[in-house]
Symmetry: C2
């Protein structure tokens, strides 16, 4: 089979736009991060922010569809067969398990919102697409992002021609005064519509936003009429102490749009996330989520009901809380984080190499700072010669590229391999610092 060659229409303009957005090198970063494991099967990869497959209960969660079918059948007084058929049909745009998600948010996140404020989405990514498509006027609106940040939000914004302005994060994440300065400065060029951040166990940094900053940040955003987009895929993975409240749990004024995900608590193949938009719209009685359903319907019509039913069934089985399902996963990821911190201390601690790192209190990632710039070529060298894969931090940067930093993910590698992988990284760093690594 060959591709059409003669006189095919010129597929160039938008492609050029894409390349201008990302740069040639970064065009495939998203795919790289998802597919790198397949390309370098022999290397130990600290690159992808994937959850550990051995923890997945795919068939168990899928069997929860039956639990949800039985519950619907009892509630509606019709046969299980009728419910199964209903799940085969086009369904409600904003989803069928909003009541169960609202209950889960109360139980596990201390977030109190009505079911009508929730849109079930095809992963958190679609929630971002709904927000950027539905709430941004690209002619004038600006998206602020904590920098570095998740590439799924900046890539999407650029794809949709929405201006992105970075707010540099420090060792604790966003600093409210820096946010306010950025808002004031950016407001000269347009309207700052929203600020995106992952306050809990940040991707890519591994930072946690302190409580006083959360409160101050909400105040800054409210005063400047800026929406806060809080993305919280890792919140239930706190390893050291009680969790801090999410921004949404602290939000009394409708400042926060909250994005949740079942990719880490259950498994990513569900492609199940949700958007919480409880803001009142104009004089309308309904929440913003209802207005945004037009946008959802134009992107994917509705989220697959059968997968909603699987999540709904698990939430029913578990009485609304995912804690029992998450606990063993959290214990495993904590082991992996600990293994990485121990290995880093053993490999780089107290040495003369000037390598430093942070100790994340949860989530999947930490930041490693090197005494030299980590180039794209180093990615290939690390993977090919040393058998270890990492993510250059500048992949995630909108502003200055943090050339000396890399993101290490400990979510996808078991403790023994983590120790081995960090040793390999140590060998690379030693060779590179001594000049040996440059010969390749």
């Amino acid at each position: 089979m060959t591709l059409p060659s003669a006189a095919a229409p010129a597929i160039t303009s938008r492609e050029v736009v894409l390349k201008e957005c990302f740069g040639d090198e970064l065009l495939d970063v998203m795919n790289f991060l998802n597919e790198v494991v397949m390309r370098f099967p022999e290397a130990i990869s600290f690159a992808p922010g994937r959850p550990l497959e051995s923890m997945f209960k795919v068939q168990q969660h899928l069997s929860a569809i039956e639990t949800y079918v039985q519950a619907c059948s009892a509630r509606k007084g019709c046969s299980p067969e009728a419910i199964w058929r209903e799940f085969g049909q086009y369904s409600l745009t904003n989803g069928i398990i909003s009541d169960l998600i609202a209950n889960h948010l109360e139980r596990d996140e201390s977030i109190h919102v009505p079911p009508s404020a929730i849109i079930t989405t095809v992963g958190a990514q679609e929630a971002m697409a709904i927000v950027l498509t539905g709430l941004f006027d690209q002619a004038r609106d600006i998206l602020l992002v904590s920098d570095p940040t998740y590439i799924g939000i900046t890539g999407l914004a650029r794809l949709m021609n929405i201006r992105v302005v970075p707010v540099p994060a420090d060792a604790h994440g966003l600093e409210p005064n820096a946010v306010e300065r950025a808002i004031v400065h950016a407001s000269r060029d347009g309207r700052v519509r929203a600020l995106y951040d992952i306050p809990d166990f940040n991707n890519p940094l591994g930072t946690s936003l302190p409580l006083d900053r959360r409160i101050a940040l909400l105040d800054v955003c409210r005063r400047h009429d800026v929406l806060m987009i809080e993305d919280n895929p890792y919140g239930m993975f706190a390893y050291d102490h009680a969790r801090m409240p999410t921004l949404k749990a602290l939000d009394e004024r409708g400042t926060v749009l909250y994005i949740g995900s079942f990719s880490k608590t259950l498994f990513p193949g569900l492609r199940m996330g949700y958007l919480v938009a409880d803001q009142r719209v104009g004089s309308s009685a309904g929440p913003l989520a209802r207005a945004l359903s037009s946008v959802k319907s134009l992107l994917t019509v509705n989220t697959p009901p059968l997968l909603q039913a699987a999540v709904g069934g698990e939430l029913l089985r578990e009485g609304g809380s995912l804690e029992a399902i998450v606990a063993p996963k959290r214990a495993q990821y904590k082991k992996q984080r600990d293994a990485m911190l121990v290995a880093l201390a053993r490999t780089f601690g107290g040495g003369p190499q000037g390598v430093t790192w942070n100790a994340p209190a949860g989530g999947f990632f930490l930041t490693l700072t090197l005494p030299f710039a980590f180039e794209t070529a180093d990615l290939q060298i690390c993977a090919g010669k040393y058998g270890v894969i990492v993510s250059p931090m500048r992949f995630f940067c909108v502003g200055p590229p943090r050339t000396n930093q890399i993101r290490l993910s400990f979510s996808y590698v078991d403790p023994q391999r983590i120790a081995e992988g960090i040793e390999r990284l140590g060998a690379f760093v030693r060779d590179r610092v001594s000049g040996a690594g440059n010969r390749h």
Copy 2:
């Protein structure tokens, strides 16, 4: 639970944009069409273009996941458990069953494309979102649509600020000379990037594009460097004679982007569609589908692997063709179409009322032309007083609103109810023509 009220950020600008796009009245058309059945449970509805639930084999198709798991397990030489876990993980952006879809396209549609040209999508709607996001420069590109047309494409284009220019369809669909005139005329204001149509059993009209027009249309598009977006959800539902070749089957120059769907052949709750983009991009070796994977990854990351596996399993079981699964559905829909044509002839035939209709050779819809304008108020009157629901054709119009036409869907109502529903519609028309209907 109450919504935040005090000092919530102003959620207005984009909403205003949305209302400008659709008009207040049309803002909820998509939701209306999907949810109208729930709002008027007592009425006979010819409005939604839904497939008939009684034909769904939801559990049977879902059980095909196991078939696909076994096949993967054998091919890859790993355990079924490992395959199940793999389906729980983040997956390839463009999907995992492209080889099976390519085979299905050969068997059932005589379309020959390499698997690398296929992107599996969350329903056909996401395929449209990928095309409009990835290939349109909204500053200058124009989308032509056959008019009236599927509201999912025009709504999406407007949401994304892409200019839409209608090309009026006649009794056989798009007329190639009219298309060429529209291209030439619109090219004064920008670049005509693509033309959207449903050539087979058009939604909303029920027309089928004649073969000579298909050939001429491809020639016009190719000469003017305009992509043809062929949306084909109903192609396998031909009732009277052998199918005509799709535009994609006739396409030798990479003129056509083809959008497929499993919503009608299997069931809509799968949310499984696909985009065929086999055009060569610039000097790249890969097809356009590969370049567009960046866009797909930023909208939904990937299509749920478990649902891809369900479709893949059915395609394996059926040896690549969906014919055996579709045959009984086609027979049922044909019965329903015949029942509607018989009922229309009985109710309106030869009478003085001046009601006319077309006889579609396949698909879910036909066009009824009334001797008076069918207003929005008539929708409520029909549903509430006469117990029958229809879609005003102007819901689907970009250009002149075809006020005297309605779309009747025969896909969602059994033959007996169809007869009853058309009788009710007859009563409404008689009262309306005689002036009685105006009193309500």
